[in-house]
Symmetry: C2
Subunit: 420 residues, 2 copies
């Protein structure tokens, strides 16, 4: 048994509405899991004092593209389909080269280490070897979650268009190889409807049927032109979501993550609700690519599982703090234009951690007994104000999210292990 | 004659559409003004080498509330009128106390020093002495621009409601005292229509008539409830803007800055256009307070002078980089919802510097011969990417704006003097 003791000021969600604060507390962790808070020090194998800092649960990024990190913050004067063809696809094609992939994914993981993310679900590229490299590197670095080898066999540039049969073969091989990893699992990852033939979707649906534990992830209703394109490719389908649903990709057996959902029809919201789909709300990306603003509070009212995601590099920042502030702002803009209810700060913070807990194989996203000890330590010491002494932890955290989103974290623990 | 030589990579706007780059160049500054670029070193009194950095013109923040800086990033779960009453007014009332004002304004200026702002137009509070303290402190720190002692004589809490006559007397005294400063001038600053009686507005209009060199600044069409309130207070007025216009506050003789303009009527756009008003577009504030999104590209099409502003503390960040990225995002969201043209990066950058040049008493906002030598040096060395070597300065600047908005600047020159 290994016991870790962490001293500091903790803040974590109890529910969608409520943040709990523990000031000057000692947190006891045993074998990578939270045990309890204590008001005094207890004997331990490792001890950390973060009294001057704020300690929060690790955050989850439920949708990002690891190979796109290299151009994060660039080429944002484009809309989705132009941006894919002119910048994203040429960059992703480079990941056939394992040397390039190793160099680029090392940079990606260094950046991830400085961020508050401890769990993630990410897209790699179509290339099995470099996708597995990414999964292994994330696993070695301690991260939990999902990596998908991407499937694409139509409407893509030649160097990113797979032979369907080869794609399925390498997907199965990728799944098998990833099973040996400790914390990272594979996710079935059809890029989006326009880049997958019906044969591809059918074959992937069979993999899902055979492996009910597998997660499936894709994109849904991101942008008006994209939705129109799907309509023209699938005139027989009731709507975009129903194409995924036809192939068992909307969470009937397998957990499903659908990114964006900016422009859902009511029938699509019904599907997301009934099938228990995890929506990966990606506000930074949605504004950068002129996509729109997802109707998050309407989805929450229906009980849809909304989670937050950076969608790097449609999103220009890998920091989930930045995503939280964007989610709040987007909900306020929808409030101004469409009278949708605006999110509160505790609610947006909840969406970045506790909300996605059921998506992952072990419990995380808050500080509860027996849950995984994923913690992030941040410092707001760079913010000077006459009000500093009277602020609650919740107020300090809110201000940090708005003001310090891109600052590196002070420390990060995943399953009780200090990774940064 | 004092000559300064600065070596580095310069990027600056030539026009609304075009950014110019000078790599590994030497910039010659004499007596606080730009002279020319050189491709080799020349003799100088002071020399700086910023070869590893990016050098841009100083940015201008055309609307912010200095006394609100202490709560920047806090209390954003409110809309404008609640936020004013619950947080803003109680904080502003504290500036009656000169000790508090000195402490708080020192913190404000320290934060401003770390930001890319070199010119600003800001609101203080109703208190003459602490408003003058702010003006003096900004002047000593080297900043150029405007500070306004705020006028409020109705619909305000008791400790912020002035006697009209007293308010005018102290405004005149503030103007007189400020005339002795070097770089900071006073601005006539009725808070907004709801907080000024007609007597106050009339008296202020007479001050403007007597002093055609004075700038006037206020708020216009920020939020739907506020506009409704103005309508109920002034049923006789055609619209909100016409109330200011009646009192000569829309730039007929005096330069005028109107903040926000999220919900203008066509007739108001006509007024802003015909009167040559400077609109202070405050996207961060407009999203934080659920106000909306100003129709910036529509204003630009009409030739209205749009400038950018942080509106701290409605805006949560004092960094104009953050404001530039918000302005871009807002234009893209309007593009998605209303098909307004989205701003380009060069255009948004232009709005943060060159666009407001005519507002100030000396020329600044780009790097042109004889213009004021206001420069900001920034470092993007924290961003690692496989693409770094192939990037243009414009791409590096764009990425910096998205990724490093809150990082402190490396150095800042105002009128050739190194202030940071």
């Amino acid at each position: 048994m290994k016991r870790i003791l962490i001293k500091g000021n903790f803040i974590y969600p109890l529910s969608k509405e409520r943040l709990e604060e523990k000031r000057n507390a000692f947190l006891i962790i045993e074998n990578g899991r939270f045990v309890s808070f204590s008001d005094h020090a207890v004997p331990s194998d490792e001890e950390y004092d973060f009294s001057d800092n704020i300690i929060i649960p690790g955050l989850s990024d439920t949708h990002l593209h690891a190979p796109q990190y290299q151009f994060a913050g660039l080429y944002m004067d484009k809309s989705l389909l132009e941006w894919l063809n002119e910048h994203t696809f040429p960059e992703e094609a480079k990941y056939k080269d394992m040397k390039y992939a190793e160099k680029a994914y090392s940079i990606f993981i260094s950046a991830l280490n400085k961020s508050p993310t401890t769990r993630l679900s990410c897209f790699a590229t179509i290339h099995e070897d470099s996708s597995f490299l990414l999964a292994s590197m994330l696993d070695d670095a301690g991260y939990s979650g999902y990596v998908g080898k991407v499937n694409m066999d139509r409407n893509s540039p030649p160097d990113l268009t797979e032979d369907t049969e080869e794609s399925i073969k390498s997907t199965l091989s990728f799944i098998r190889r990833t099973e040996k990893l400790k914390n990272i699992s594979s996710a079935v990852t059809p890029r989006f409807v326009p880049s997958c033939t019906d044969s591809m979707m059918k074959a992937l649906s069979e993999i899902l049927l055979d492996n009910p534990g597998l997660v499936v992830q894709s994109h849904l209703c991101e942008n008006k032109d994209e939705i129109e394109w799907v309509r023209s490719l699938h005139p027989e389908a009731e709507n975009y979501a129903s194409v995924y649903d036809r192939y068992g990709m909307l969470g009937r057996r397998n957990k499903s993550i659908m990114a964006h959902v900016c422009w859902p029809e009511d029938a699509e919201l019904d599907l997301l609700e009934n099938r228990n789909v995890f929506v990966a709300h990606s506000p930074s990306s949605n504004e950068n690519l002129s996509s729109g603003i997802a109707p998050v509070s309407r989805m929450l009212e229906r009980g849809i599982n909304v989670t937050l995601s950076s969608d790097v590099a449609g999103g220009s920042s890998i920091s989930m703090f930045s995503v939280i502030s964007r989610a709040l702002s987007h909900s306020r803009i929808r409030n101004a234009f469409f009278s949708d209810r605006a999110l509160t700060f505790p609610e947006a913070f909840y969406l970045s951690c506790l909300s996605s807990s059921p998506l992952f194989s072990s419990q995380s996203g808050s500080i509860f007994p027996s849950w995984d000890a994923d913690l992030v330590v941040i410092s707001d010491s760079s913010i000077k104000s006459t009000l500093n002494e009277g602020l609650s932890l919740s107020e300090r955290l809110e201000r940090y999210v708005y003001s310090c989103a891109e600052l590196p974290v002070v420390a990060k623990f995943i399953k009780g292990r200090k990774v940064v």
